[in-house]
Amino acid sequence: MINVIRILSVLLLPLIIGCKTVNHLAETENVNIEVVTDQVDQSMESFIAPYRSEMEEEMQQVIGSNASMLTKTRPNSTLGNVVADLLQDQAEVYLNIKVDFAVQNYGGIRINSLSPGPITKGEIFELMPFDNYLLVLPMTKKDIILLCDRIIELNGWPISRGLSIIVKDDQVSDIMINGLPLEDGKIYQMAIPDYIANGGDSCDFLTEIEQQHTGKYIREALTDRISYLESQGKPITSNNEQRIHK
């Protein structure tokens, strides 16, 4: 796909006094070229090769399997649901506590889809390249409302099965935890990346909340959970639940 356009323009350059010649930008031409790989430069290949082989063994390790095509969309998605559920489950294992729900910022998931079949460690690195840690935060009703408002303001993030948000006219109208309305005075345990807990994506209101550290990266949590499921003979499975209801 090559689109060629030709654009004519004038630029009135500042006056330069004297008999010096002037270069006027008179015309521009633009092509945005798709980088296809039918021709590659061998010297660049040889430069990359030693780095690649150093990573390859670890990255090609199969850690589990995926039953069906998972995709990332807003506000709900199959990939987002699976990731958030894996984080909720694995946070419980790490800290040996009941976790009510998990939240993962949309921008933190860096692939658009995960194809069915074996899952390699490399794919989890691409899904979650950031060295973000998995934390658990004790959340009050007020904290949860603030966070859900922010999630909806940002057009929806992956949330785990424990949480559902009902949206009316682009505003949060109701929040349920495990099918029940939020209770005053109750503390809910939420798994979340440290990036968000430390105020990322303008979630400053979370920074004062006490943090329970799992000591594990999000990526490790996903890898550990997927490996555990594999050891039980289970693939990760698609879940098309609408957790954010519009």
Binding site: S9, T28, R52, S113
Partner: protein, 305 residues
Amino acid sequence: MISRRKFINAMGTGGLMLGVDLFPYRLFDKGEVTKITILHTNDVHSRIDPFPMDGGRNEGMAGLAARYRMIENIRAEEDNVLLFDSGDIFQGTPYFNFFGGEVEIKGMSKLGYDVATIGNHDFDGGIDGFVKQMPHADFDFVISNYDVSDTAMAPFLKEYVIKEVGGIRIGVFGLGIELEGLVPDKLCKGVVYHDPVSYGQRIATHLKEELRCDAVICLSHLGFKYEEDIVSDVVLAKETDNIDLILGGHTHTFLDAMVTTTNKSDQAVFINQAGFGGLMLGRIDLYFENNKKTKCQTCKNLFVE
């Protein structure tokens, strides 16, 4: 709306035909026109190898080796080629996790990049992580609206550079996105963000008027445009002057063709962005008319009155 001076904005075939018909090619025959070829990428995000063969829509695309071949082919055909990147070089594949950006920066040096700016993810290894890779960079980094003077980055970031190619002076500066709320404080400690519009204006005017650049290019990691009231390339273009071309990033925007708009002085500004992951290589050829007059001879034909 482009008022009095209506550009022949060749966004479609009609414009293309019109443009070709009107442009006085005699200038080319006399050798009075200089062509500068600008190539650019953004948000490559550690995409060293092609996208994996995983059934995804980008499988088998991009990668340094293919991009290098493509760029070398263009260099073989053109005399004056400049290669730029608009930030978020780091993060996205295990290459970054394993080697901390070494492959990206060495690779870009090998590709012959001239100038790059920094994106928010170029802080993902912290300031020290960025500085650690600087010995591998055979190209310049520019950023005008981050004050890094109190950080270890200071020796490696310039406010602008001027590239002189084919007798044409091209001023290049960089603008970065607001880091607060985007980059954890500990990773960018000491970096002070300033308003891109006022800082961009100041530097563009300096390059154009005092340093006599024939064209001014902004490498931007602000993002193409937003629904919210946030500064973007489109906002920057409209609210400044003396910038000719904005090569953007951050929003991973794929444009079929660069966008033409007008600045606050009603002059043309071109904005382009090349998706992400090295899937696209942006190419913009700039043609300069050289004369002894303060008015452009060919340019006057380029308006519909």
